[in-house]
């Protein structure tokens, strides 16, 4: 399958999207980090983070994604999020509780921190999965 020739991106679109991306990413991080105290969480925040990179690639060109996020890092972080989630469960097991029972974690508020960790894991996996699918569709 051959790709259509790429149009050079318009400078206005490039500048506007470039300046929007940091704010979108900050909002995405906020949604992930505050998932346990306000509406939000890993799934929603991960998709917002992925959308910021999609916007960047749409405004720039295909080489941008490859430059900013190497495919190997994308593959690794798709698995790393699930590993973080499941790994926390194993840590709970090792500390003598049930799987994913955050009670004995060595923090001041163990359950809150435990949930934050798994939300971050979910966020990483969702972001990397979305970007990985997007990247594969672009290259196809």
């Amino acid at each position: 399958m051959t790709l259509p020739p790429e149009q050079p991106p318009d400078v206005i679109i490039k500048v506007v999207c470039r300046s929007l991306v940091p704010f979108i990413q900050l909002f995405g991080l906020y949604v992930v980090m505050h998932g346990h105290s306000s509406p939000g969480g890993g799934f929603q925040g991960g998709v917002i983070l992925a959308a910021s990179f999609v916007l960047l690639v749409l405004a720039e060109d295909r080489a941008t994604l490859r430059h900013h996020i190497p495919p190997a890092a994308l593959n690794a972080s798709t698995s790393a999020g699930v590993l973080l989630f499941a790994g926390l469960g194993v840590v709970c097991l090792a500390l003598g509780a049930n799987y994913l029972d955050y009670g004995p974690l060595p923090f001041a508020e163990p359950r809150s921190i435990g949930m934050l960790v798994i939300e971050i894991g979910v966020g990483i996996t969702v972001m990397a999965a979305m970007l990985s699918i997007f990247r594969d569709l672009l290259e196809f």
Partner: protein, 94 residues
């Protein structure tokens, strides 16, 4: 054969409609589904988990195993797309 299909579909549909007549109304606090574990979540999720957001307390703590499954589904989906699309690429090159 078509008549048999029609009869089977109609009977199944009627059975499903009959079953749905007895379903509890949405948001009914006296419904069996709302009297089993929901009061426990509403009354003690803050003390038990220390998290203000009840939805997250259920999703990430009480039913953390379920959420682990959801993430695995997304992971598997990404792997499946990756396998299908990248295999297609290789065939095109040959």
């Amino acid at each position: 054969m078509k008549l048999l299909h029609l009869v089977a579909t109609t009977v199944t549909g009627l059975l499903l409609i009959m079953g749905s007549l007895d379903l509890a109304e949405t948001g009914d606090p006296a419904a069996p589904a709302a009297t089993h574990v929901s009061p426990r979540y509403i009354e003690s999720s803050l003390e038990e988990t220390g998290v203000e957001n009840m939805v997250t307390a259920v999703l990430a703590d009480y039913r953390g195993f379920d959420t682990l499954g959801e993430v695995t589904v997304i992971f598997t989906g990404a792997i499946a797309v990756l396998l299908i699309l990248r295999t297609g690429l290789k065939e095109d090159e040959e």
